[in-house]
Symmetry: D2
Subunit: 346 residues, 4 copies
C-alpha cells in the first residue's frame, strides 16, 4: 500500500479523487488539505463520501504533510500550486498536479495567459504533460506530472491523429466545446447557481479561454509546426461531461471509413479511448462517471471538412480519473486499476 495526500481536497476534483481511490487496492489516503474547511470532516462537505467519515481536512502545512505520503495529488488553484508542487517535487516525492501550473512548457506563454510569472522554471522543465495516450513512456519515468485540463483532454484526443497524420489543414481548426457545470468547480457564485444555469445555454471565454494554449501546445507537437486554434467553450445545464465538436478542412479526399480506420489504429491499444463505428457519435451521458473517452467522426463531402466529436467526463478522464491513471503508470500498477467501472446510465 502506498500513501497518498490530496492537497486542495474540498472541491469536486478532490472529492472525485477520494471516490475513485476508495476502490484502489494499493492506495491509502493519509491526508487531505483545505484552508477554508480545515477542521471539518470530509463528510461535512461531501456526505456521500461516508467511508471517509474519519478523515479531517487539515491546512496545507507542507513540512507536516511531507512525511505522511508517497504521492501528492495537487488540486490547488492555478498560481498557488506552483510553489507547493516545487516543494514536494524537490523533496523527492511523486507529484501529480491537477492545476494548470506545470502544463505549459514555455513559461512566457504561461505568463501571457495566466497573468502571473512562473517562478519555478527549472522544475517546470521536469514536468511531463500527463496525457497517457501521447506521453505514456515519459510518464512512466517522471516523478512530476502535469495533469491535463478537461477541455484539452477532449480536444487533443479528438484531433491528434488527424493533425499528426496530416489529414486536416492546421490553419483553420475549430474546437467548439460544451461542458457540464462541475467544470466551474464548487463555489458560491450567483452565475453558477441553479436558477441561472438550468434551462440556459451560453458560450463564454470566447477567444480568451486559458485552455487554448494547452491545446495548441500538444497539437503543435503533433504537427511539428506552431498551430493556433479557435476554441469556444459553452456551459451546459448538466453536472458532468464535455463534448467537443471539432472542424478541420480535409487536405485530400477521403471517406469517413478511411479516417475512422486511422483513428481506430491509433487508439487500438488504449484502454480508455473508444473510437465509435461509422454513424455512431458520442453522448456525454455514455461516459458519465467513467474514465473513458469516446470519439466519433464524419467527413462532410459537400464542404470537404472533417468533423470529429469527442466525449469525456470532465471530472474523471478530464481530471481525477486521469490523475489516478497517471499514478498507476508512474507506480507500475495496472493502468486501469480503480478505473474500470463503466458509465452510470441513466
Amino acid at each position: 500500500m502506498i500513501k497518498a495526500a490530496i492537497c486542495g481536497g474540498s472541491g469536486y476534483t478532490g472529492a472525485e479523487l477520494l471516490r475513485i481511490l476508495s476502490g484502489h487496492p494499493e492506495v491509502e489516503i493519509t491526508s487531505v488539505t483545505s484552508e477554508k474547511s480545515a477542521g471539518k470532516r470530509v463528510t461535512d462537505l461531501f456526505p456521500h463520501l461516508h467511508k471517509y467519515a474519519g478523515l479531517i481536512y487539515e491546512p496545507l502545512n507542507k513540512e507536516k504533510i511531507l512525511q505522511k505520503a508517497d504521492v501528492f495529488f495537487m488540486a490547488l488553484p492555478h498560481g498557488t500550486s506552483q510553489e507547493a508542487v516545487d516543494y514536494f517535487f524537490k523533496k523527492g516525492k511523486k507529484v501529480i498536479d491537477l492545476s494548470a501550473d506545470y502544463r505549459l512548457s514555455d513559461p512566457a506563454i504561461y505568463e501571457e495567459w495566466y497573468k502571473t510569472p512562473h517562478n519555478y522554471t527549472d522544475t517546470l522543465k521536469k514536468a511531463v504533460y500527463g496525457l497517457p495516450e501521447l506521453h505514456r513512456e515519459e510518464i512512466k519515468n517522471s516523478p512530476l506530472i502535469a495533469n491535463p485540463g478537461c477541455y484539452p483532454t477532449s480536444a487533443i484526443l479528438g484531433l491528434y491523429p488527424a493533425v499528426k497524420e496530416g489529414i486536416i489543414d492546421i490553419e483553420n481548426i475549430i474546437v467548439d466545446s460544451k461542458s457540464g457545470t462541475s467544470g466551474a468547480g464548487r463555489k458560491a457564485d450567483v452565475g453558477f447557481s441553479y436558477c441561472e444555469v438550468n434551462e440556459g445555454f451560453k458560450a463564454y471565454g470566447i477567444a480568451v479561454h486559458r485552455h487554448t494554449p494547452e491545446i495548441e501546445q500538444e497539437l503543435s507537437g503533433a504537427a511539428g509546426v506552431k498551430i493556433t486554434v479557435n476554441f469556444t467553450p459553452h456551459l451546459v445545464p448538466m453536472d458532468r461531461g464535455i463534448i467537443s465538436t471539432m472542424y478541420g478542412k480535409m487536405l485530400k479526399k477521403a471517406d469517413t471509413v478511411d479516417i475512422l480506420a486511422v483513428y481506430k489504429n491509433y487508439y487500438a491499444s488504449e484502454p480508455f479511448v473508444n473510437v465509435l463505428d461509422e454513424g455512431i457519435f458520442p453522448n456525454a451521458k455514455n461516459v458519465r462517471g467513467s474514465n473513458y473517452c469516446e470519439i466519433g467522426l464524419k467527413v462532410n463531402k459537400r464542404t470537404n471538412t472533417l468533423i470529429i466529436v469527442s466525449a469525456i467526463d470532465n471530472l474523471v478522464k478530464g481530471a481525477s480519473g486521469q490523475a489516478v491513471q497517471n499514478m498507476n503508470i508512474m507506480m507500475g500498477f495496472e493502468e486501469a486499476t480503480a478505473l474500470k467501472s463503466m458509465a452510470l446510465f441513466p
Copy 2:
C-alpha cells in the same frame, strides 16, 4: 377580429400558437385539427391551455374548415403539408406554413433533402420565405408564407450582415448549433425520453440535417453566389432555446467594435433582434418564451476569425412566434402584437 385555423395543432408548435394567440386582440381561433387526437379537447393534451377548454380537435377536412377561417396556420409534418397548403392558397386564403414544404425555392433541392418530390411547384413559386428581417416587404404582399425553420432562423440572423457585407470568407462557414429538446416535437420516442436526454449532450444529423439547404439558400441570396455551410446540430438537456455559434474567416482586419457597429446598424429598426454590446453574449435563458433574437460577436485576432453567437427560443422566434409576426405583417396589424412579453427568467 379575424378568424384563424390551426391545422396540425396537437404538437408543441400548435400549442404555442394557441398560447400566443390567446393574447392577440384581433384574432379568434375557430378550428384546430389533429387526426390522432380528433374528438379530444385541447386541454386533454395541454392542461395548461385552460382557456381553450371548449375547443375540440377535429380531423383536417379541408372543405369543412375552409369556411371557418381567414388565415390558416399549417403545422403539419413535412411532406403532408404540401397539398393542404396548396388547397387553402388556391382558395384565396392567407396561409402560413410552419412545415418545410415551401421554404426551399428550388424543388430539386427540396427533393434531394426531403426524399419526396414537390408536387405543387406553381404554388411554391408564390411562397415567400418568412424571415421578416430579410423579406418584410414581400411578406406584406404575399398570401403564402413559408415560416422558417428554427435552426435557420438562428443561423441566418447571425450570419446575414457578415455575409452580405463581405466581412467573412464564404468558403468556410461553420454553424455549430445547440437546441433544446422541444425542437424534436411532442412524441413517444425512447430517444427523447427524459432519462435518455437529461444529463446528456450529443451531436446528431452531422452533415445531413435538412435545415442545411435552408441556411444556404438565404446566405447565398445575401452573398450573390452559392454558399455551402457546415451545419452541426446538438441536443441540449433543456426544454427550449437554440444557441448557434458561427465561425467565419475575416476577409480583412477589423475590431470587434467595428463589426458590432455593422450589425447594430443592420438591425437598428428591427423589433425583435437585439445586438448585444461588446463582451456580452446571448444566453438561451434570456429569450425563453419570447420572440426575441439576441446576437453577440467577437473577432478572434489570433486566428483572424469572426465568432458570432445567436440565441432564440425555437418554439417562438423559431416557429410559432415568428408565424404570428408574419401574420401581423400580412394583415397590417402592429408587428409586435401579442409578441411583446419578455423572457420568463428564471
Copy 3:
C-alpha cells in the same frame, strides 16, 4: 397611469414584478432600489428585461423615493422590511409588502419564528393578509397588504374549503410541499449552486420552517379554533413551481366527487383558481409563469383520508403575480390585468 416603485428589486421577485408590470397598461415603474446593485442597470443583472435598459438601481432613500410613486412594492428581506413599510404607509402611500413582516397578526408569533421583535405593531394591525380568495373585500379597502408566502399560498388555497366546511379532522393535517429552486432567491450560496441541486432532492427545515405559522393562522381563522400543522418543504431540481400534497382524516364518509363539488363551488368565481376534474391532478409545469393555482383531490377510502394536491408558480401566484393581483384590487383595476397569460409549456 399610476406610478410604482419596487424596493428591493435585484432578486427574482423584483425581476418578476418588472416582467409582469411591463404588460400592465395602467402602471409605470418609476424607481427600483437595491443597495448592493445601486448604480447598475436592471439589464446588468437581468439581460432578459431589455425593455428596462434605462432603469438604474438606486439605494433605498425613503425620502427621495416617496415622491416618485403612488404604490410601493416592498421586496426587502424579512426584518428590514418592517421600518420601510411603516414609513411609506404612514406617509399615505399604498404598500404591498412581499416580505413576511406584516403577515402574522400576532407579534409574539412573529418574534417566535423570526427571532426579532416587531417594532411597528400599530401598523401591523392595519395590514391585510393579501390572499384575495379569502380576503378580497378587506384588500379593496386597505392601503397595506401583506403579500402571502409562496408555500402558504399553495397550502391555504388547498386546505381552506376542507377546513372551513369541517370535512377533515383539524388535529392531524399534513402539508408536504415541494418547491423549485427560485424559492431560495438569487444568491451566491454553494448549497444552491447548480451541481448541488441538480439531480438531487431533499427535505429541509423540517418542523421549523417559518411559513408554518402563516399556514396555521389562516386555517385557524377558517376553523374558528387554533390549528397546528405538520409542514415539510422539499427542494426540487427545477426553476419554478410549488406542489403541496396535503393529508387530512375525513370526519365523515364522502366520495371524491362530493368533495370536488364543495371545492368547485368555493372557487367558482375565482379568476385564478382551477379545481380539476376527478382523476386529474396538478403539475407544476402547467402553471409555470402564470398566476393560476390548480387543485386536484381524492378521497382514499381504504384509509379514510382526503388527499389534496395544489400547484402554483412560486414567483407568480406565490409572490409577484399575487402582488400585482392585490394592486389591481386595491386600485380598482380589472383584477386579472397583466396576469392573463397561461403557462409556458414546455
Copy 4:
C-alpha cells in the same frame, strides 16, 4: 465463477444489473434476453456498456437458457414473470425475481392490485421477500427471492423500527414519496418524454399505486397487526433516486435523539443503511449510483409527530443493487461484493 442469466435485460434494471455485475469477481453473464431486441447487441441499446459488446440479446427460450446459468435474474414485466420464475425454480435454479409477481404472499391481494390471478401459488409460498435488513436469514436459505419494489424498499426501511418498536400510531401512517424518472422504465411514452417531465412535478397513482400492499405487508409483519398506509408517489425531474417522507403520530413523548438511538441500534450492523446524525437529512444525490439507504428523522414536538426521511437510488438499492446483494447472500459471497462504490456526486 458462477453463471448468471438476465431475463428481460433491455430495460434500465437489466442494464444496471450488467453494470454492477461487470465488477463482480465471481459472476459471469452468460445470457441476456429480450423479445423486442433479440438479435441486437447490448451496446446497440446501451452504448455505455461497451464491455458487453459481444453479448447479444436472445429471445426467452426457457429450455435453451436453462442450461446456460446457475442463477436467474428475472426482470420481466409483472404478470409475465410468474410462469418463467416458476419454471426455473422448479428446475432447481436460484431465482431472483425483480418483478412484483412473488412479493405479495397472499395471492388474493396480488390479484386485487394487479388485476390478474396468481397461477403458481405453491411456488409463491416458497418465495422470500428479499429485503436483507428484515429477512437475511431466510434469504440465505431460499432459492427464490422476490426482490422488493423501489418505493417499498425506501418506505419499509424508513418505518420498520418505528412500527416494530411501537413508537408511532399505526392508524395514520403517511408515506409521501418522490421518485426520479427512471422508475418508470425505458419506454416510448409521451408522458415520460423530456419536455413533459423536465421542469415539472406531479403526484400520480394517488391511493391506488401497486406498491401500497407491499409496504403494508411488511409493516403489518412488523406490527403484528394489519396496517394500511397512505402512499402517494410523485415524479421528480431527475434520473435516479427516491426520497420518502413519512409521518406517524408519536405514541409517547420522546426526543429526536431518543428515536435516532433506536434507529442506529437497529441498523448498526447493516452494510447498506446509514442513519444520519441529528439535524442531517438525506439527499437523493448522496446515494446516486450506490446501494446505500440513508435515513434521517425528527420529532415535531408541536404536533407530536415523527417525521422520517429516507433516500435510495431506485435502480440500485431499489432494484438491481439489492438483487445483487440478495445473490451474494444466497451464494455465500461477501454481501457487499460489487456494491461498495459510493455515490457519484455531483
